[in-house]
């Protein structure tokens, strides 16, 4: 295939005929279209065939994205995309594996998998559609809802504090950490491309508007800003941590957008390729083991 004309598809043609069922004004539209553009551009610029992209979806509004893009996809179960993504990447070193997950999906149901994928530096990308509320189950609090949030399961308001997912990821060993915002689409697309091309575990928390249950547009517009070059030393843990702590997803503070941390480390999947290279006759290998044991 000529990489300059990936599968003969333009960005527009990556949209499937499946009827879109997101609410009007939903932040998911920005993520969908910027993901579509990121994939198309990377295919053109980096020569990655379109068939080498794999999207994973969990369960929640975010997951519908994989139905809407005409790209290989694994539409799995709630909170469990990440280990499946590692399995896919283990099986094929040429594929770019991108998990689309929700904040309830991955910070509640599947947090263990997220932490361990970061810890082992699995060569996958995780994009969190973080609208800080459950959408599809109609308006309960999530791990990133602010203190006092009144959801349908917590009408009196929650007393706990939200997780700062970036801080969790930094502590767990993620090698690429970024944050975007659905109202800054070009910036978001850049973050996606950078994360997908990072060799190792890359993580993008996307502040996403939920038009129906938790519309924080004014709040984000007021506080969010794009970091300038050199504002954080992305190679230094301490520098990244300080910047990540500028806003804790709770109190009012400036909300930095951009890449906080990006370092190179050996990836988890490297070893597997050596094990299965060459595909020898395994039945002969069984005989050999039995001979040794005689």
């Amino acid at each position: 295939m000529n990489p300059k004309q990936p599968a003969g598809k333009t960005a527009g043609e990556l949209i499937t005929p499946v009827q879109n069922t997101w609410c009007p004004g939903c932040g998911n539209f920005s993520i969908e279209h910027m993901m579509k553009s990121a994939i198309t551009e990377l295919s053109e610029e980096e020569g990655i065939p379109l068939e080498n992209f794999v999207l994973l979806g969990g369960i929640g509004c975010h997951g519908k994205l994989v139905d809407y893009l005409n790209v290989n996809s694994f539409y799995g179960i709630h909170g469990r995309s990440v280990p499946a993504a590692t399995g896919i990447r283990l099986a094929n070193p040429d594929v770019k594996v991108i998990c689309h997950v929700g904040d309830g999906d991955i910070y509640a149901e599947g947090l263990d998998h997220l932490i361990f994928a970061a810890k082992r530096n699995s060569d996958i990308t995780v994009v969190v559609h973080n609208n800080r509320v459950y959408g599809l189950t109609t308006g309960q609090y999530t791990p990133t809802s602010p203190t006092g949030f009144r959801g349908r399961s917590t009408p009196g308001g929650i007393t706990e504090h939200p997780l700062n997912p970036l801080e969790v990821m930094l502590a767990a060993g993620a090698t690429h950490i970024a944050r975007g915002y659905t109202k800054k689409v070009q910036h978001l697309k850049g973050l996606f491309k950078e994360a997908i091309m990072h060799r190792g575990f890359s993580f993008v928390d996307v502040l996403q508007i939920c038009a129906t249950y938790f519309n924080l547009t004014d709040y984000y517009n007021k506080h969010a800003y794009e970091m300038n070059e050199g504002e954080v030393d992305t190679g230094r843990f301490e520098s990244a941590l300080a910047k990540i702590r500028e806003w804790d997803y709770d109190r009012e503070a400036p909300i930095a957008l951009g890449t906080f941390y990006s370092v190179k480390k050996p990836i988890y999947e490297e070893h597997f390729q050596a094990l299965t290279a060459g595909r020898p006759d395994r039945r002969e290998l069984i005989r050999r083991i039995l001979e040794e044991r005689r």
Binding site: E51, R80, P83, L90, A91, R282, L285
Partner: protein, 552 residues
């Protein structure tokens, strides 16, 4: 028929398992078929571990209570096994630990001190004593040690073994049979080798008795076998990682026990819906909950038959010995890929951690099965409707194909749908695979029988109780009928096998008669249940006594 039983007991951490395998090695070297039952509590140091090693001229797979030789590292090893000791039993004990013993007392503390050998070499002293008692030559003993002990410890072990050999007398004489020495392997090991024979690329597991040793074995041999072995954060991660591997074209198996399988059930249902092949080795142990972690049971039959939300076809096989573990593990994996259904290999602690002589040359593997692959023509639909319900596979990276798997109800392309007509059609396609699998299995030995048809008495059993039943049946002139496949249930083969069954007993390691219940569901009479549910497998003599009540 010449046969011998040896019991070796001591505290955990003293290497009873290894010592037991060396004893099995001693008899194997002389051409005997061996079986070892290993009994140990859930602790790391202390307690009471023991192994019963039985050797015979023909294939065996069960132990008997009386033993010819008892090797005791401590007082418990004598006191806990009074029923195994009879007039002909020779007892060899560690005189440094046993206060009340009759037989040969070996001052093992002094021996290892004098030989400047590490304490673990006490096992070699016992092995030496056993060789002498059993009239086995010093050269055979040395051969076995040479094979089992690392080179740098060999000299010390040989010296200590000699001291054991010299400290006792010959009581009986084990004749060499002149047959080829067979390797002694565990059910876990052979299950792993069977999976590799079936095309395994990757094994994923979280440690849990009784299948942890399958993980350890494959991890140690990963390079030799050219496979990937992964140990992720929990059993949910395990099965999802396996499904990711399968989606991308690598054949993966996972291993666990009941508790871990509980965590896997949502992933199992995903495998059913998304039509992703995966093979699950389910080593049973007694529950509910943590139960008896290091003991045995056949309590998960209905769990694995029904696990996971929704309705989807699955393959469930229950091997009863190493030969069946090898062939059916391979077949479970291959059929899982051929029909894109999850397959479950039901083992238990008795089979998984029991050790048996394994003769691969006597194994007749089933026909190889290949997955149905996309031919590259036309538009690719992951869930294309076909006659047998099986849609051609393609994997990410394949030019011209967009491969969409989905946990939601979906259409042929893999897009989510809630439309009634599409939902019904795709549901029927998925269930059709179960019928096709069932038809395919008609050509496999899905129900095995042993003994003559006109016996008028029949023993039904499944899994690891197979060999205790075969031996016990001989005493009563009874026939044995054993289902190897439990889903899809081989009703026709079962009906055929049970013609003229006469008086029927159904032997199981559980408290409620799970196979009996399945048989009743299928419209068959399971006869009278003979159940054992104390975490231990039937000894042959114990089963004989229980059957005497049924067949009286």
């Amino acid at each position: 028929m010449a046969e011998y039983s040896v019991l070796i007991g001591g505290k955990a951490g003293e290497g009873i398992n290894t010592a037991g395998l060396s004893i099995a090695g001693l008899f194997s070297r002389l051409g005997y078929r061996t079986y070892m039952y290993l009994d140990y509590p859930s602790l790391i140091r202390g307690g009471h571990n023991f192994a019963v090693i039985r050797a015979a001229e023909r294939a065996i797979g069960a132990h008997r209570t009386p033993v010819d030789v008892l090797l005791a590292f401590d007082q418990n090893s004598i006191d806990n096994h009074r029923e195994s000791i009879h007039d002909g039993t020779t007892v060899v004990y560690d005189a440094s630990a046993v206060v009340k013993g009759e037989g040969y007392g070996l001052p093992l503390d002094d021996i290892v001190k004098e030989e400047k050998a590490p304490p673990i070499t006490k096992n070699s002293a016992m092995l030496g004593a056993l060789a002498r008692v059993a009239g086995i030559g010093r050269e055979v003993l040395e051969d076995v040690l040479r094979e089992s002990v690392p080179a740098k410890h060999l000299e010390a072990n040989l010296r200590v073994a000699d001291r054991g050999y010299d400290a006792v007398e010959t009581v009986f004489s084990v004749k060499p049979l002149g047959s080829r020495a067979l390797p002694v392997l565990t059910g876990n090991e052979v299950t792993g080798l069977g999976l590799v024979h079936g095309g395994l690329d990757a094994y994923v597991a979280y440690p849990m008795t009784p299948t942890s040793n399958l993980l350890h074995f494959l991890a140690n041999r990963a390079e030799d076998l050219s496979i990937g072995v992964f140990h992720p954060e929990n059993e949910i991660g395990v099965i999802l990682m396996a499904l990711g591997l399968a989606y991308a074209g690598k054949k993966a198996a996972v291993g666990t026990s009941g508790g871990g399988f509980c965590l896997m059930t949502e992933g199992l249902s995903l495998a059913g819906m998304a039509e992703l092949p995966v093979t699950i080795v389910m080593g049973q142990r007694p529950g509910p909950s943590t139960g008896l972690p290091t003991y045995t049971a056949q309590t998960e039959l209905h769990f694995v038959l029904n696990a996971g939300q929704g309705e989807f076809p699955r393959l469930v096989v229950a091997p009863g010995d190493l030969e069946e573990a090898f062939t059916w593990s391979a077949t479970a994996l291959m059929l899982s890929w051929r029909y894109q259904v999850p397959s479950i290999i039901l083992t238990d602690k008795t089979l998984a951690e029991g050790a048996f002589s394994f003769d691969i040359d006597a194994v007749t593997p089933h026909t190889d099965q290949e997955p149905l692959l996309w031919d590259g023509n036309g538009e690719y639909n992951r869930y294309a409707l076909t006659k047998d319900g099986v849609s051609p596979l393609a994997f990410p990276g394949r030019e011209g194909a967009v491969i969409k798997v989905n946990s939601y109800a979906h259409d042929e392309a893999g897009f989510t749908t809630e439309a009634p007509e599409k939902t019904r059609r795709l549901r029927e396609k998925m269930l059709k695979k179960g019928e096709s699998l069932s038809a395919e299995l008609a050509t496999y030995p899905v129900v095995k029988t042993y003994g003559t048809r006109d016996a008028g008495k029949t023993l039904i059993c499944w899994g690891s109780e197979k060999w205790a039943c075969i031996e016990a049946a001989e005493k009563f002139g009874a026939r044995v009928v054993q289902p190897l496949v439990l889903a899809p249930f081989p009703a026709r083969a079962w009906k055929e096998a049970m013609i003229g069954a006469g008086k029927v007993a159904c032997v199981e390691n559980n408290a409620t008669g799970q196979l009996a219940r399945l048989l009743r569901q299928q419209g068959f009479d399971p006869g009278r249940s003979v159940l054992k549910y104390d975490g231990r497998p039937f000894a042959v003599d114990e089963l004989e006594a229980r059957l005497a009540e049924v067949f009286a």
